[in-house]
């Protein structure tokens, strides 16, 4: 196990290094568009530009500049926005809670619905509940979250007028009721897809587990169905779904980009998009680094957790 841990750690560090290299290269390879030079304005003389370039070390070779940038990043300095002159780290700290709340709530709701739906439809596989659940989840999987969001807005905001289409952001700590009410539509749009994916995976694993000998034994001994389903079968069937949940945590970070844009929520995703559209490249670079880095780290943790939890994999390796 220790060897796998070491190998995984090396792999993680290599991937993170590549992520940082890509983020850095994106900005530094764009010719003539260096954000710091824009601070001088259009009327700058060539000498002033040359002085500033030398002072900022922009003429140094690529590895040297990368090393310096990486040093800053590791100390938490991601540079400053060229449009608002705000610290990129501060921007991220301010917007991250919004994205995290959105991702956490949609996953929690996804699990809340997926577990009972998956268990019931596997238990009565082929029955009417199962047929409805299976075909609905198949249809939902063909609906990208932004289409679900549009339909929800049409129904609940445009037609019924019961929920806001573009809610103002109110932090949970300030006014929990307004915060949750405003998040009903965005969270539903994200959660429906989660429910569909998780239900499908849990259902198919449950069906496999229910065929196993030990379940037959438990039934033969006359254990109550509920006990067999929830205490014997469910834990064994949960594994792949939990791995998927882990991957969804990472996926939700990027999925939130679209949902935040539709509902005008000022999270990381919308910030990234606005930065792209206003060509605020320092912010783009910082956000790509942070989001991609978080995604990679979460995925590795999930992979490790999976190996730790599942005795079958542990033995095989």
């Amino acid at each position: 196990m220790g060897r796998i841990l070491g190998a995984k750690l090396v792999e993680l560090i290599v991937v993170l290094a590549v992520v940082s290299l890509v983020s850095f290269a994106m900005l530094s390879l764009v010719p003539g568009d260096n954000p710091e030079l824009r601070m001088l304005g259009d009327s700058a003389t060539p000498e002033a530009v040359a002085d500033l370039r030398a002072e900022l070390g922009l003429d140094d070779p690529f590895p040297q500049r990368y090393g310096r940038w990486l040093g800053d990043v590791l100390q938490g300095d991601l540079g400053r926005s060229t449009t608002s002159n705000q610290d990129v780290t501060a921007i991220i700290a301010e917007r991250l809670p919004i994205t995290l709340q959105l991702a956490a709530m949609s996953l929690a709701i996804g699990l809340l619905f997926a577990v009972p739906l998956g268990v019931i439809s596997a238990w009565r596989a082929g029955g009417w509940i199962d047929r409805i659940v299976t075909s609905t989840s198949f249809a939902v999987l063909s609906l990208p979250s932004f289409l679900i969001a549009i339909v929800l807005i049409i129904v609940f905001a445009v037609r019924l007028r019961v929920l806001p289409a573009a809610p103002a952001w109110v932090p949970l700590t300030e006014d929990p009721i307004t915060n949750l009410r405003n998040l009903i539509l965005p969270v539903t749009a994200m959660a429906l897809g989660e429910i569909a994916v998780l239900t499908r995976v849990l259902r198919s694993d449950m069906i496999d587990v229910l065929q196993l000998d030990y379940i037959q034994t438990a039934r033969a001994k006359g254990m109550p169905t509920r006990f067999v389903l929830l205490r014997h079968a469910l834990p064994a069937a949960l594994l792949s779904m939990l791995t998927l949940v882990g991957l969804q945590v990472a996926g939700a970070m990027t999925g939130a980009v679209v949902i935040e844009q539709i509902f005008g929520l000022p999270g990381l995703g919308r910030t990234l998009l606005l930065a792209i559209l206003s060509r605020d490249l320092v912010v783009v670079q910082g956000l790509v680094l942070v989001i991609a880095g978080a995604y990679v780290v979460v995925n590795s943790l999930v992979d490790l957790a999976y190996r730790l939890v599942d005795p079958r994999i542990r033995r095989a390796s």
Partner: protein, 296 residues
């Protein structure tokens, strides 16, 4: 079910596939409805220029927000008075072009590289798979947005980025299929009679690997359509005046204030039906060919 190896040792007849023509009626009505919709979309995409439709970019402010079924505008007009049917047709063209090209490039390049690497094995395989795993551990939407931000929005850049993002997945898939195939009798027999490596890769392994990749590819087309829809919706897709489904939906969302919903709902429905149909057909074909998901 397995076809017995014939005399042509190096070109076996699709070994693991059920006999063609059996169970013809089991695909179901839904499958054929999905096929019909896809045929309609592809035909519209191919013949959009020949159809008697108005110019999708022609603006007529006096005729904006015409409802569905208006005279001369079957699906109505949008916020600038442009014909929605013509724009949906052009959107189909863009979606189909980008997704088919991406998947075709992915299957070809990924198939050849994955099969070769899987067959050769050893250090080359290890190195290639390390690269592939690294590429796959990147969040693709973020990478896509980042690259487009720096490289600029254009059809060419979008297709390029999509292809680059698609290839690693196919390499992994093709390698996995190759590993299971290369120990089979007929492959060993080809080696025994002295067939050259190149012949084994291209004539023996690749045809079977490609069949697997193509069934997977149908589902992948849907995924590319979603990805293209997302970036167009976010305003970083193929730039206007070209109509794309994602961008039409984004424009339509702004009409909600005027209580107009059909401008967003029509392209959204077109997109949903297309993805649903691709999933239905892909799923049906995959079951038919018994390609197990576990192989991915």
């Amino acid at each position: 079910m397995r076809a017995e190896p014939t005399n042509e040792v190096d070109e076996p007849v699709a070994p693991d596939h059920p006999r063609r023509g059996s169970a013809a009626g089991t695909l179901g009505t839904l499958f054929w409805l999905a096929v019909a919709w896809l045929v309609l979309v592809v035909a519209t995409a191919v013949f959009a220029g020949l159809l008697p439709l108005p110019d999708p970019t022609r603006i007529s402010p006096g005729r904006k927000y015409l409802p569905i079924g208006s005279d001369g505008h079957l699906l109505g007009t949008d916020q600038l008075g442009r014909d929605i049917l013509a724009r949906v047709a052009e959107g189909a063209r863009i979606s189909m072009f980008i997704s088919l090209l991406t998947v075709a490039v992915g299957i070809t390049v990924g198939g050849v590289v994955g099969t070769t690497v899987g067959y050769v094995g050893g250090r080359i395989e290890k190195a290639a798979m390390a690269l592939v795993n690294m590429a796959l551990s990147f969040p693709s939407l973020i990478l896509l947005l980042g690259v487009i931000a720096f490289a600029g929005q254009s059809l060419r850049n979008i297709v390029l980025v999509f292809c680059v993002l698609a290839i690693p997945g196919y390499i992994r898939f093709a390698r996995a299929s190759t590993l299971t195939l290369k120990e089979r009798d007929w492959v060993l027999a080809s080696r025994m009679i002295g067939a050259k490596d190149r012949r084994i890769v291209f004539r023996v392994l690749l045809p079977d690997v490609l069949v697997t990749l193509i069934t997977f590819g149908l589902l992948a087309i849907g995924a590319v359509i979603v990805a293209e829809g997302v970036i167009a919706f976010l305003g970083v897709g193929v730039p206007p005046p070209t109509a794309t489904w994602g961008q039409m939906i984004a424009d339509g969302q702004r009409d909600f204030d005027d209580d107009v919903i059909h401008t967003a709902l029509i392209p959204a429905t077109a997109m949903f039906l297309t993805i649903l149909s691709l999933n239905l057909v892909g799923d049906g074909l995959r079951r038919r060919l018994q390609v197990r998901e576990a192989q991915i």
